[in-house]
Protein backbone atom coordinates (compact mmCIF):
# COMPACT_ATOMS: atom_id res chain seq x y z
CA UNK A 1 0.00 0.00 0.00
CA UNK A 2 1.26 3.47 -0.94
CA UNK A 3 2.14 5.54 2.09
CA UNK A 4 1.80 9.00 0.53
CA UNK A 5 -1.18 9.94 -1.61
CA UNK A 6 -2.37 13.18 -3.18
CA UNK A 7 -5.99 13.40 -2.06
CA UNK A 8 -8.95 15.72 -1.63
CA UNK A 9 -10.39 15.98 1.88
CA UNK A 10 -13.41 13.87 0.90
CA UNK A 11 -11.15 11.23 -0.67
CA UNK A 12 -8.86 11.17 2.36
CA UNK A 13 -11.88 10.16 4.46
CA UNK A 14 -12.52 7.25 2.08
CA UNK A 15 -8.88 6.11 1.98
CA UNK A 16 -8.57 6.26 5.77
CA UNK A 17 -11.85 4.36 6.10
CA UNK A 18 -10.55 1.48 3.98
CA UNK A 19 -7.35 1.44 6.04
CA UNK A 20 -9.50 1.34 9.21
CA UNK A 21 -11.09 -1.89 8.07
CA UNK A 22 -14.37 -0.33 6.91
CA UNK A 23 -16.03 -2.91 4.66
CA UNK A 24 -19.20 -1.14 3.53
CA UNK A 25 -20.04 2.29 2.22
CA UNK A 26 -23.59 3.40 1.51
CA UNK A 27 -23.89 6.71 -0.25
CA UNK A 28 -25.80 8.96 -2.57
CA UNK A 29 -24.46 11.35 -5.19
CA UNK A 30 -24.77 14.89 -3.87
CA UNK A 31 -22.04 17.57 -3.94
CA UNK A 32 -18.87 16.60 -2.08
CA UNK A 33 -20.27 13.23 -1.10
CA UNK A 34 -19.91 12.32 -4.80
CA UNK A 35 -16.13 12.73 -4.53
CA UNK A 36 -16.08 10.23 -1.68
CA UNK A 37 -18.47 7.87 -3.49
CA UNK A 38 -16.49 7.98 -6.75
CA UNK A 39 -13.17 7.47 -4.97
CA UNK A 40 -14.44 4.43 -3.09
CA UNK A 41 -16.03 2.89 -6.21
CA UNK A 42 -12.66 3.24 -7.98
CA UNK A 43 -10.88 1.58 -5.05
CA UNK A 44 -13.48 -1.21 -4.94
CA UNK A 45 -12.89 -1.90 -8.64
CA UNK A 46 -9.18 -2.14 -7.92
CA UNK A 47 -9.85 -4.94 -5.50
CA UNK A 48 -9.72 -3.19 -2.11
CA UNK A 49 -11.78 -4.96 0.55
CA UNK A 50 -14.82 -2.71 0.58
CA UNK A 51 -18.28 -2.87 -0.99
CA UNK A 52 -19.78 0.39 -2.19
CA UNK A 53 -23.48 0.84 -2.74
CA UNK A 54 -25.32 3.82 -4.21
CA UNK A 55 -28.81 3.89 -2.77
CA UNK A 56 -32.01 5.27 -4.23
CA UNK A 57 -32.34 7.99 -1.63
CA UNK A 58 -30.03 9.66 0.94
CA UNK A 59 -32.22 8.52 3.83
CA UNK A 60 -32.19 4.88 2.76
CA UNK A 61 -28.40 4.90 2.42
CA UNK A 62 -28.24 5.81 6.11
CA UNK A 63 -30.63 3.03 7.07
CA UNK A 64 -28.98 0.45 4.83
CA UNK A 65 -25.87 1.32 6.83
CA UNK A 66 -27.97 0.72 9.96
CA UNK A 67 -28.92 -2.78 8.75
CA UNK A 68 -25.35 -3.63 7.76
CA UNK A 69 -24.03 -2.35 11.10
CA UNK A 70 -26.54 -4.56 12.94
CA UNK A 71 -25.17 -7.53 10.96
CA UNK A 72 -21.62 -6.70 12.09
CA UNK A 73 -20.28 -4.61 9.20
CA UNK A 74 -17.95 -1.68 9.81
CA UNK A 75 -19.82 0.99 7.90
CA UNK A 76 -19.17 4.44 6.55
CA UNK A 77 -21.90 6.66 5.20
CA UNK A 78 -22.22 10.32 4.38
CA UNK A 79 -24.70 13.16 4.04
CA UNK A 80 -24.81 16.67 2.70
CA UNK A 81 -26.25 19.78 4.41
CA UNK A 82 -29.52 19.38 2.51
CA UNK A 83 -29.97 15.90 3.96
CA UNK A 84 -28.84 16.84 7.45
CA UNK A 85 -32.25 16.10 9.04
CA UNK A 86 -32.06 12.59 7.55
CA UNK A 87 -28.57 12.12 8.97
CA UNK A 88 -29.72 13.30 12.39
CA UNK A 89 -32.65 10.88 12.27
CA UNK A 90 -30.22 8.06 11.57
CA UNK A 91 -27.90 9.25 14.35
CA UNK A 92 -30.84 9.14 16.75
CA UNK A 93 -31.50 5.49 15.81
CA UNK A 94 -27.83 4.42 15.93
CA UNK A 95 -27.55 6.11 19.31
CA UNK A 96 -30.69 4.39 20.63
CA UNK A 97 -29.54 1.01 19.31
CA UNK A 98 -25.94 1.26 20.65
CA UNK A 99 -24.55 0.78 17.16
CA UNK A 100 -21.28 2.14 15.74
CA UNK A 101 -21.49 4.44 12.73
CA UNK A 102 -19.11 6.81 11.01
CA UNK A 103 -20.93 9.47 9.00
CA UNK A 104 -19.21 12.24 7.06
CA UNK A 105 -21.32 15.38 6.80
CA UNK A 106 -20.37 17.87 4.12
CA UNK A 107 -21.45 21.35 5.03
CA UNK A 108 -22.48 23.73 2.30
CA UNK A 109 -24.38 26.99 2.10
CA UNK A 110 -27.97 26.98 3.37
CA UNK A 111 -30.80 27.11 4.40
CA UNK A 112 -32.87 25.39 1.73
CA UNK A 113 -31.02 24.23 -1.33
CA UNK A 114 -28.56 27.13 -0.89
CA UNK A 115 -25.49 26.56 -3.02
CA UNK A 116 -22.61 24.11 -3.13
CA UNK A 117 -20.07 26.53 -1.65
CA UNK A 118 -18.75 26.09 1.87
CA UNK A 119 -20.44 27.36 5.00
CA UNK A 120 -20.28 26.37 8.64
CA UNK A 121 -23.93 27.09 9.27
CA UNK A 122 -24.77 23.49 10.27
CA UNK A 123 -22.63 23.66 13.40
CA UNK A 124 -25.42 24.33 15.87
CA UNK A 125 -27.84 22.11 13.98
CA UNK A 126 -25.48 19.18 14.37
CA UNK A 127 -24.40 20.03 17.90
CA UNK A 128 -27.98 20.18 19.16
CA UNK A 129 -29.54 17.89 16.55
CA UNK A 130 -27.42 14.92 17.59
CA UNK A 131 -29.02 15.26 21.02
CA UNK A 132 -32.56 14.64 19.78
CA UNK A 133 -34.27 12.45 22.37
CA UNK A 134 -31.13 12.70 24.56
CA UNK A 135 -29.11 10.65 22.09
CA UNK A 136 -25.54 11.66 21.43
CA UNK A 137 -22.79 11.43 18.86
CA UNK A 138 -19.15 12.37 18.78
CA UNK A 139 -18.47 15.24 16.35
CA UNK A 140 -15.06 15.73 14.77
CA UNK A 141 -14.09 18.84 12.77
CA UNK A 142 -10.94 18.26 10.71
CA UNK A 143 -9.54 20.98 8.44
CA UNK A 144 -6.84 19.66 6.08
CA UNK A 145 -7.01 16.37 4.11
CA UNK A 146 -4.40 14.93 6.49
CA UNK A 147 -6.66 15.89 9.38
CA UNK A 148 -9.61 14.31 7.56
CA UNK A 149 -7.67 11.02 7.40
CA UNK A 150 -6.66 11.21 11.06
CA UNK A 151 -10.22 12.10 12.07
CA UNK A 152 -11.54 9.09 10.14
CA UNK A 153 -9.22 6.72 12.00
CA UNK A 154 -10.28 8.28 15.27
CA UNK A 155 -13.93 8.12 14.25
CA UNK A 156 -13.81 4.36 13.65
CA UNK A 157 -11.93 3.79 16.90
CA UNK A 158 -14.43 5.86 18.89
CA UNK A 159 -17.48 4.41 17.15
CA UNK A 160 -16.38 0.82 17.76
CA UNK A 161 -15.06 1.40 21.26
CA UNK A 162 -18.23 3.04 22.60
CA UNK A 163 -20.76 1.73 20.03
CA UNK A 164 -21.87 5.24 19.15
CA UNK A 165 -22.34 7.28 15.99
CA UNK A 166 -19.45 9.58 15.08
CA UNK A 167 -19.86 12.52 12.73
CA UNK A 168 -16.98 13.91 10.70
CA UNK A 169 -18.10 17.44 9.95
CA UNK A 170 -16.30 18.79 6.90
CA UNK A 171 -17.09 22.02 5.10
CA UNK A 172 -17.28 21.98 1.33
CA UNK A 173 -13.91 23.77 1.03
CA UNK A 174 -11.99 21.22 3.12
CA UNK A 175 -13.70 18.42 1.19
CA UNK A 176 -12.23 19.81 -2.04
CA UNK A 177 -8.84 20.87 -0.65
CA UNK A 178 -5.99 18.79 -2.12
CA UNK A 179 -2.91 17.77 -0.16
CA UNK A 180 -0.38 14.97 0.05
CA UNK A 181 -1.55 12.77 2.89
CA UNK A 182 1.15 10.74 4.61
CA UNK A 183 -0.54 7.64 5.97
CA UNK A 184 2.68 6.36 7.61
CA UNK A 185 2.45 9.05 10.30
CA UNK A 186 -1.11 8.24 11.32
CA UNK A 187 -1.17 5.52 13.91
CA UNK A 188 -4.03 3.14 14.36
CA UNK A 189 -5.03 1.31 17.51
CA UNK A 190 -6.90 -1.99 17.46
CA UNK A 191 -10.65 -1.95 17.56
CA UNK A 192 -12.66 -3.93 20.12
CA UNK A 193 -15.35 -6.12 18.63
CA UNK A 194 -17.67 -7.16 21.44
CA UNK A 195 -21.07 -5.82 20.53
CA UNK A 196 -24.51 -7.07 19.57
CA UNK A 197 -24.43 -8.60 16.09
CA UNK A 198 -27.59 -10.08 14.59
CA UNK A 199 -27.11 -12.66 11.86
CA UNK A 200 -29.35 -15.60 12.74
CA UNK A 201 -29.37 -17.24 16.17
CA UNK A 202 -27.82 -20.58 15.08
CA UNK A 203 -28.16 -22.85 18.09
CA UNK A 204 -28.01 -20.07 20.67
CA UNK A 205 -30.65 -17.80 22.18
CA UNK A 206 -32.40 -15.28 20.01
CA UNK A 207 -31.19 -11.68 19.82
CA UNK A 208 -33.48 -8.82 18.99
CA UNK A 209 -32.94 -5.15 18.40
CA UNK A 210 -35.68 -2.62 18.80
CA UNK A 211 -35.63 1.03 19.78
CA UNK A 212 -39.31 0.80 20.67
CA UNK A 213 -40.13 0.54 24.38
CA UNK A 214 -43.85 0.76 24.92
CA UNK A 215 -43.84 1.04 28.69
CA UNK A 216 -42.52 3.98 30.65
CA UNK A 217 -40.25 2.00 32.98
CA UNK A 218 -38.50 0.13 30.16
CA UNK A 219 -37.88 3.39 28.32
CA UNK A 220 -36.64 5.12 31.48
CA UNK A 221 -34.19 2.26 32.05
CA UNK A 222 -32.88 2.65 28.52
CA UNK A 223 -32.47 6.37 28.95
CA UNK A 224 -30.58 5.96 32.17
CA UNK A 225 -28.26 3.40 30.51
CA UNK A 226 -27.67 5.83 27.66
CA UNK A 227 -26.96 8.67 30.08
CA UNK A 228 -24.43 6.51 31.92
CA UNK A 229 -22.79 5.69 28.60
CA UNK A 230 -22.58 9.38 27.73
CA UNK A 231 -21.08 10.21 31.13
CA UNK A 232 -18.43 7.53 30.83
CA UNK A 233 -17.68 8.63 27.26
CA UNK A 234 -17.22 12.25 28.34
CA UNK A 235 -15.07 11.16 31.28
CA UNK A 236 -12.70 9.08 29.17
CA UNK A 237 -12.54 11.18 26.02
CA UNK A 238 -11.23 14.73 25.95
CA UNK A 239 -12.02 17.02 23.08
CA UNK A 240 -9.14 17.30 20.61
CA UNK A 241 -7.62 20.59 19.50
CA UNK A 242 -4.59 22.22 17.88
CA UNK A 243 -2.72 25.05 19.50
CA UNK A 244 -0.25 27.28 17.70
CA UNK A 245 1.68 29.73 19.87
CA UNK A 246 1.08 30.30 23.54
CA UNK A 247 0.08 32.92 26.06
CA UNK A 248 -0.53 35.84 23.71
CA UNK A 249 -3.09 38.58 24.43
CA UNK A 250 -4.86 37.82 21.15
CA UNK A 251 -6.46 34.43 20.75
CA UNK A 252 -7.90 33.36 17.41
CA UNK A 253 -10.41 30.48 17.44
CA UNK A 254 -11.64 28.76 14.29
CA UNK A 255 -12.18 25.29 12.84
CA UNK A 256 -12.49 23.80 9.37
CA UNK A 257 -11.39 25.95 6.44
CA UNK A 258 -11.68 29.02 8.70
CA UNK A 259 -8.87 27.57 10.84
CA UNK A 260 -6.62 27.25 7.79
CA UNK A 261 -7.32 30.89 6.96
CA UNK A 262 -6.85 31.87 10.61
CA UNK A 263 -3.41 30.25 10.62
CA UNK A 264 -2.42 32.22 7.52
CA UNK A 265 -3.82 35.39 9.08
CA UNK A 266 -1.76 34.79 12.24
CA UNK A 267 1.36 34.46 10.07
CA UNK A 268 0.51 37.72 8.31
CA UNK A 269 -0.06 39.51 11.64
CA UNK A 270 3.40 38.54 12.89
CA UNK A 271 4.80 40.62 9.99
CA UNK A 272 2.98 43.61 11.53
CA UNK A 273 4.36 42.85 15.01
CA UNK A 274 1.08 41.49 16.32
CA UNK A 275 1.42 38.02 17.80
CA UNK A 276 -1.51 35.72 18.33
CA UNK A 277 -2.28 32.31 19.76
CA UNK A 278 -4.31 30.09 17.45
CA UNK A 279 -6.74 27.59 18.92
CA UNK A 280 -8.46 25.11 16.57
CA UNK A 281 -11.00 22.73 18.14
CA UNK A 282 -10.84 19.53 16.07
CA UNK A 283 -13.80 18.07 17.88
CA UNK A 284 -17.04 19.76 18.92
CA UNK A 285 -18.37 16.86 20.97
CA UNK A 286 -16.67 16.36 23.33
CA UNK A 287 -15.54 19.99 23.17
CA UNK A 288 -11.97 20.76 24.32
CA UNK A 289 -13.26 22.90 27.22
CA UNK A 290 -10.28 22.85 29.55
CA UNK A 291 -7.59 23.57 26.95
CA UNK A 292 -9.69 26.49 25.68
CA UNK A 293 -10.21 27.83 29.19
CA UNK A 294 -6.45 27.50 29.75
CA UNK A 295 -5.70 29.39 26.52
CA UNK A 296 -8.22 32.07 27.53
CA UNK A 297 -6.52 32.71 30.89
CA UNK A 298 -3.82 34.90 29.41
CA UNK A 299 -5.90 36.31 26.57
CA UNK A 300 -7.53 39.73 26.47
CA UNK A 301 -9.28 39.42 23.12
CA UNK A 302 -10.82 36.43 21.42
CA UNK A 303 -11.20 36.56 17.65
CA UNK A 304 -13.63 33.92 16.40
CA UNK A 305 -13.76 33.30 12.67
CA UNK A 306 -16.42 31.26 10.94
CA UNK A 307 -18.63 30.96 7.88
CA UNK A 308 -22.16 31.40 9.24
CA UNK A 309 -24.22 34.04 10.97
CA UNK A 310 -21.99 33.80 14.02
CA UNK A 311 -22.84 30.24 15.11
CA UNK A 312 -19.33 29.83 16.55
CA UNK A 313 -20.19 32.55 19.08
CA UNK A 314 -22.83 30.30 20.67
CA UNK A 315 -20.33 27.45 20.84
CA UNK A 316 -17.66 29.56 22.55
CA UNK A 317 -19.71 31.85 24.82
CA UNK A 318 -19.98 29.42 27.80
CA UNK A 319 -16.18 29.32 28.15
CA UNK A 320 -15.33 33.02 27.80
CA UNK A 321 -14.55 34.86 31.09
CA UNK A 322 -15.62 38.49 31.59
CA UNK A 323 -12.02 39.64 31.25
CA UNK A 324 -11.91 38.59 27.59
CA UNK A 325 -13.70 40.49 24.83
CA UNK A 326 -15.24 38.47 22.00
CA UNK A 327 -14.96 39.60 18.38
CA UNK A 328 -16.62 37.56 15.64
CA UNK A 329 -15.75 37.61 11.94
CA UNK A 330 -18.28 35.85 9.73
CA UNK A 331 -18.64 35.29 6.03
CA UNK A 332 -21.76 33.78 4.47
CA UNK A 333 -23.13 32.69 1.12
CA UNK A 334 -20.23 30.37 0.42
CA UNK A 335 -17.30 32.80 0.63
CA UNK A 336 -14.17 31.65 2.48
CA UNK A 337 -12.74 34.32 4.85
CA UNK A 338 -9.96 36.20 3.06
CA UNK A 339 -6.66 36.48 4.92
CA UNK A 340 -6.12 40.16 4.08
CA UNK A 341 -9.64 41.06 5.17
CA UNK A 342 -9.36 39.16 8.44
CA UNK A 343 -5.96 40.68 9.16
CA UNK A 344 -7.27 44.22 8.65
CA UNK A 345 -10.33 43.46 10.77
CA UNK A 346 -8.23 42.09 13.64
CA UNK A 347 -5.91 45.13 13.55
CA UNK A 348 -8.90 47.50 13.59
CA UNK A 349 -10.50 45.64 16.47
CA UNK A 350 -7.24 45.77 18.46
CA UNK A 351 -6.86 49.52 17.84
CA UNK A 352 -10.43 50.36 18.79
CA UNK A 353 -10.46 48.26 21.96
Amino acid sequence: MEKKLLLKGAEAIGEAAIRSGCNRFYGYPVPNQSDLLEYLVKEEEEGRSLTVFQSEDPLSSLFMAYGASIAGARVLTAANSIDLPDALRAVSYFSAADLPLVCAIFSQSGPGSGNIYPEQSDTLGILYGTQIGDGFASILTPSTPSDCAAATYKAFQTAEAYHIPVIILVDAACAQLVETVDFSTISFRGIPKNRLIIKGKNKGDKSTLTTLALDIERMAERKSALNKKRDSFLKKEQGSYKLVGEGEENLIVAFGISAIQAKRTADALIGNNISCTLFEPTSLYPFPEKPLEEALKKAKRLFAIDMSNGQIEKVLTPYIPDSVSLHVFSTTGGAVPRVEQVRQWIQQEIQSS
Binding site: F53, M64, G67, A68, I198, K201, T210
Partner: protein, 255 residues
Protein backbone atom coordinates in the same frame (compact mmCIF):
# COMPACT_ATOMS: atom_id res chain seq x y z
CA UNK B 1 -49.06 -54.26 20.00
CA UNK B 2 -47.39 -51.06 21.09
CA UNK B 3 -48.83 -47.85 19.73
CA UNK B 4 -46.41 -45.30 18.29
CA UNK B 5 -47.30 -41.63 18.34
CA UNK B 6 -45.90 -38.98 16.06
CA UNK B 7 -46.76 -35.33 16.42
CA UNK B 8 -48.13 -33.94 13.16
CA UNK B 9 -49.35 -30.59 14.42
CA UNK B 10 -48.83 -28.44 17.47
CA UNK B 11 -47.37 -25.25 18.82
CA UNK B 12 -44.73 -24.09 16.33
CA UNK B 13 -41.20 -24.14 17.75
CA UNK B 14 -40.37 -20.72 16.34
CA UNK B 15 -43.39 -19.11 17.98
CA UNK B 16 -42.43 -17.62 21.34
CA UNK B 17 -44.48 -18.82 24.30
CA UNK B 18 -45.57 -15.39 25.39
CA UNK B 19 -48.93 -13.62 25.47
CA UNK B 20 -49.56 -11.52 22.37
CA UNK B 21 -50.95 -8.02 22.64
CA UNK B 22 -53.00 -7.94 19.46
CA UNK B 23 -56.65 -6.84 19.75
CA UNK B 24 -59.43 -9.47 19.77
CA UNK B 25 -60.24 -10.54 16.21
CA UNK B 26 -57.00 -9.13 14.79
CA UNK B 27 -55.33 -11.49 12.31
CA UNK B 28 -51.73 -10.45 12.96
CA UNK B 29 -51.62 -13.44 15.30
CA UNK B 30 -52.48 -15.76 12.40
CA UNK B 31 -49.76 -14.19 10.26
CA UNK B 32 -47.15 -14.62 13.00
CA UNK B 33 -48.08 -18.26 13.40
CA UNK B 34 -47.89 -18.88 9.65
CA UNK B 35 -44.41 -17.34 9.61
CA UNK B 36 -43.34 -19.56 12.52
CA UNK B 37 -44.71 -22.65 10.81
CA UNK B 38 -42.94 -21.86 7.53
CA UNK B 39 -39.66 -21.27 9.38
CA UNK B 40 -40.00 -24.57 11.25
CA UNK B 41 -40.99 -26.43 8.12
CA UNK B 42 -37.91 -25.23 6.24
CA UNK B 43 -35.73 -25.72 9.35
CA UNK B 44 -34.20 -22.28 9.05
CA UNK B 45 -34.85 -20.91 12.56
CA UNK B 46 -31.09 -20.73 13.21
CA UNK B 47 -30.19 -18.77 10.13
CA UNK B 48 -32.98 -16.32 9.49
CA UNK B 49 -33.34 -12.69 10.51
CA UNK B 50 -36.67 -10.89 10.44
CA UNK B 51 -37.12 -7.15 10.08
CA UNK B 52 -40.41 -5.59 11.10
CA UNK B 53 -41.65 -2.09 10.61
CA UNK B 54 -43.44 0.42 12.80
CA UNK B 55 -46.97 -0.09 14.05
CA UNK B 56 -48.49 -3.36 15.21
CA UNK B 57 -45.89 -5.33 13.21
CA UNK B 58 -43.24 -3.72 15.45
CA UNK B 59 -44.28 -6.12 18.23
CA UNK B 60 -43.02 -9.17 16.31
CA UNK B 61 -39.55 -9.41 17.91
CA UNK B 62 -41.27 -10.52 21.13
CA UNK B 63 -43.48 -13.13 19.46
CA UNK B 64 -41.11 -15.03 17.19
CA UNK B 65 -38.29 -17.11 18.61
CA UNK B 66 -35.76 -16.01 15.98
CA UNK B 67 -33.32 -13.10 15.54
CA UNK B 68 -35.28 -9.95 14.79
CA UNK B 69 -34.78 -6.25 14.19
CA UNK B 70 -37.46 -3.58 14.51
CA UNK B 71 -36.85 -0.90 11.89
CA UNK B 72 -37.79 2.78 11.99
CA UNK B 73 -41.03 3.77 10.24
CA UNK B 74 -40.69 3.43 6.47
CA UNK B 75 -37.18 2.02 6.73
CA UNK B 76 -37.81 -1.73 7.06
CA UNK B 77 -36.71 -2.44 3.47
CA UNK B 78 -33.47 -0.38 3.64
CA UNK B 79 -32.56 -1.96 7.00
CA UNK B 80 -33.27 -5.44 5.63
CA UNK B 81 -31.27 -4.59 2.50
CA UNK B 82 -28.23 -3.66 4.59
CA UNK B 83 -28.62 -6.85 6.64
CA UNK B 84 -29.03 -8.95 3.52
CA UNK B 85 -25.90 -7.46 1.91
CA UNK B 86 -23.89 -8.45 4.96
CA UNK B 87 -25.34 -11.86 5.87
CA UNK B 88 -27.42 -12.81 2.81
CA UNK B 89 -25.01 -15.53 1.74
CA UNK B 90 -25.51 -17.51 4.94
CA UNK B 91 -28.88 -16.41 6.30
CA UNK B 92 -32.35 -15.61 5.04
CA UNK B 93 -33.79 -12.15 5.61
CA UNK B 94 -37.50 -11.43 5.63
CA UNK B 95 -39.52 -8.28 6.17
CA UNK B 96 -42.91 -8.12 7.89
CA UNK B 97 -44.57 -4.73 7.64
CA UNK B 98 -48.03 -3.21 7.64
CA UNK B 99 -49.33 -1.54 4.50
CA UNK B 100 -49.48 1.92 6.08
CA UNK B 101 -45.72 1.77 6.58
CA UNK B 102 -44.74 -0.15 3.42
CA UNK B 103 -46.96 1.53 0.82
CA UNK B 104 -46.79 4.98 2.41
CA UNK B 105 -43.40 6.30 3.48
CA UNK B 106 -41.70 3.03 2.51
CA UNK B 107 -43.01 2.66 -1.06
CA UNK B 108 -39.94 4.13 -2.78
CA UNK B 109 -37.70 1.61 -1.04
CA UNK B 110 -40.03 -1.33 -1.78
CA UNK B 111 -39.97 -0.55 -5.50
CA UNK B 112 -36.21 -0.03 -5.66
CA UNK B 113 -35.41 -3.17 -3.67
CA UNK B 114 -37.68 -5.08 -6.08
CA UNK B 115 -35.98 -3.52 -9.11
CA UNK B 116 -32.57 -4.59 -7.78
CA UNK B 117 -33.92 -8.03 -6.94
CA UNK B 118 -32.55 -7.89 -3.39
CA UNK B 119 -32.50 -11.26 -1.63
CA UNK B 120 -35.55 -10.51 0.52
CA UNK B 121 -38.92 -12.09 1.29
CA UNK B 122 -41.33 -9.26 1.95
CA UNK B 123 -44.61 -9.93 3.75
CA UNK B 124 -47.09 -7.09 3.96
CA UNK B 125 -50.06 -7.20 6.31
CA UNK B 126 -52.70 -5.11 4.54
CA UNK B 127 -55.51 -4.32 6.96
CA UNK B 128 -56.85 -1.29 5.08
CA UNK B 129 -55.94 1.24 7.77
CA UNK B 130 -53.08 2.54 9.93
CA UNK B 131 -53.90 0.33 12.89
CA UNK B 132 -51.59 1.26 15.71
CA UNK B 133 -51.78 5.01 15.17
CA UNK B 134 -55.51 4.73 15.88
CA UNK B 135 -57.22 3.64 12.67
CA UNK B 136 -56.23 6.36 10.23
CA UNK B 137 -56.42 6.49 6.45
CA UNK B 138 -53.84 4.26 4.76
CA UNK B 139 -52.85 3.90 1.09
CA UNK B 140 -55.13 0.86 0.67
CA UNK B 141 -58.20 2.19 2.51
CA UNK B 142 -61.27 1.43 0.38
CA UNK B 143 -63.49 4.12 -1.10
CA UNK B 144 -66.17 5.04 1.39
CA UNK B 145 -64.36 3.33 4.26
CA UNK B 146 -64.61 5.28 7.50
CA UNK B 147 -61.33 5.91 9.34
CA UNK B 148 -60.27 8.33 12.08
CA UNK B 149 -59.15 10.81 9.39
CA UNK B 150 -62.01 10.11 6.96
CA UNK B 151 -64.99 10.05 9.33
CA UNK B 152 -67.41 10.45 6.41
CA UNK B 153 -65.69 7.73 4.38
CA UNK B 154 -62.68 7.94 2.03
CA UNK B 155 -63.52 10.10 -0.99
CA UNK B 156 -62.04 9.54 -4.44
CA UNK B 157 -62.11 13.28 -5.09
CA UNK B 158 -59.79 13.97 -2.17
CA UNK B 159 -57.60 10.86 -1.86
CA UNK B 160 -57.92 9.19 -5.26
CA UNK B 161 -58.96 5.66 -6.11
CA UNK B 162 -56.99 3.04 -4.16
CA UNK B 163 -54.49 0.98 -6.12
CA UNK B 164 -53.42 -2.66 -5.80
CA UNK B 165 -49.77 -2.16 -4.86
CA UNK B 166 -49.10 -5.90 -4.99
CA UNK B 167 -49.85 -6.12 -8.69
CA UNK B 168 -47.81 -2.95 -9.36
CA UNK B 169 -44.75 -5.10 -8.63
CA UNK B 170 -45.59 -7.41 -11.54
CA UNK B 171 -44.02 -4.96 -14.00
CA UNK B 172 -40.62 -5.38 -12.37
CA UNK B 173 -38.44 -8.05 -14.05
CA UNK B 174 -36.34 -8.92 -10.97
CA UNK B 175 -39.33 -9.91 -8.83
CA UNK B 176 -39.55 -13.70 -8.58
CA UNK B 177 -42.76 -14.35 -6.74
CA UNK B 178 -45.88 -12.29 -6.03
CA UNK B 179 -48.94 -13.60 -4.21
CA UNK B 180 -51.77 -12.55 -1.93
CA UNK B 181 -54.11 -14.38 0.40
CA UNK B 182 -56.80 -13.52 2.91
CA UNK B 183 -55.47 -14.23 6.39
CA UNK B 184 -58.98 -14.76 7.81
CA UNK B 185 -60.59 -17.68 5.99
CA UNK B 186 -59.53 -21.25 6.64
CA UNK B 187 -58.97 -22.22 3.02
CA UNK B 188 -56.90 -19.18 2.21
CA UNK B 189 -54.84 -19.45 5.40
CA UNK B 190 -53.82 -22.94 4.28
CA UNK B 191 -52.77 -21.59 0.88
CA UNK B 192 -51.04 -18.64 2.53
CA UNK B 193 -48.85 -20.97 4.57
CA UNK B 194 -47.54 -22.38 1.29
CA UNK B 195 -47.01 -18.90 -0.20
CA UNK B 196 -44.91 -17.83 2.77
CA UNK B 197 -42.94 -21.05 2.60
CA UNK B 198 -42.40 -20.69 -1.11
CA UNK B 199 -41.24 -17.10 -0.71
CA UNK B 200 -38.58 -18.19 1.80
CA UNK B 201 -37.61 -21.14 -0.40
CA UNK B 202 -37.11 -18.83 -3.36
CA UNK B 203 -34.68 -16.81 -1.28
CA UNK B 204 -32.93 -19.97 -0.13
CA UNK B 205 -32.38 -20.93 -3.76
CA UNK B 206 -31.05 -17.43 -4.49
CA UNK B 207 -33.88 -16.41 -6.73
CA UNK B 208 -34.10 -12.89 -5.33
CA UNK B 209 -37.04 -10.77 -4.35
CA UNK B 210 -40.45 -12.16 -3.48
CA UNK B 211 -43.56 -10.53 -2.14
CA UNK B 212 -46.64 -11.82 -0.34
CA UNK B 213 -49.48 -9.55 0.74
CA UNK B 214 -51.67 -10.82 3.54
CA UNK B 215 -55.11 -9.24 3.57
CA UNK B 216 -55.73 -8.83 7.29
CA UNK B 217 -58.50 -7.79 9.64
CA UNK B 218 -58.56 -4.91 12.05
CA UNK B 219 -62.04 -5.24 13.63
CA UNK B 220 -61.17 -2.71 16.35
CA UNK B 221 -60.64 0.11 13.87
CA UNK B 222 -63.40 -1.05 11.51
CA UNK B 223 -65.70 -0.80 14.54
CA UNK B 224 -67.20 -4.23 13.81
CA UNK B 225 -67.38 -7.60 15.59
CA UNK B 226 -64.78 -9.97 14.03
CA UNK B 227 -67.37 -12.17 12.29
CA UNK B 228 -68.95 -9.19 10.56
CA UNK B 229 -65.54 -7.73 9.73
CA UNK B 230 -64.71 -11.01 7.94
CA UNK B 231 -67.87 -10.78 5.84
CA UNK B 232 -67.38 -7.12 4.97
CA UNK B 233 -63.68 -7.25 4.11
CA UNK B 234 -64.14 -10.48 2.16
CA UNK B 235 -66.82 -9.02 -0.13
CA UNK B 236 -65.41 -5.49 -0.35
CA UNK B 237 -61.91 -6.57 -1.35
CA UNK B 238 -62.60 -9.43 -3.75
CA UNK B 239 -62.60 -7.05 -6.72
CA UNK B 240 -59.78 -4.68 -5.89
CA UNK B 241 -57.45 -6.95 -3.88
CA UNK B 242 -57.95 -10.49 -5.31
CA UNK B 243 -56.14 -13.53 -3.91
CA UNK B 244 -53.80 -15.92 -5.69
CA UNK B 245 -50.32 -16.31 -7.10
CA UNK B 246 -49.62 -13.54 -9.62
CA UNK B 247 -46.05 -14.43 -10.51
CA UNK B 248 -43.81 -17.40 -9.78
CA UNK B 249 -40.47 -18.67 -11.13
CA UNK B 250 -41.03 -20.94 -14.11
CA UNK B 251 -38.57 -23.64 -13.13
CA UNK B 252 -36.59 -24.81 -10.18
CA UNK B 253 -38.93 -24.43 -7.20
CA UNK B 254 -41.19 -27.28 -6.24
CA UNK B 255 -43.32 -27.35 -3.16
Amino acid sequence: MELKFEQIAGFPKSLAETPQHFCPGCTHGVNVRLLAEAIDNLQVAGNIVGVCGMGCSGLLPDYLDIDMVAAPPGQAIPVATGLSHEIGKKSLVFVYVGEGDLYGRGLNYLIHAAIRGEALSVFCANNLNMGMSGGHLSPTTLLGQKTATTPEGKSAAKYGIPVDFTRLLLNIPNVSFVARFKGFTAGEIRKGREYIKRSLQIQKFQRGFSFVEILSLCPTNLGLPPTEAVKLVKSATSGIYPSGIFKTPEVGITL
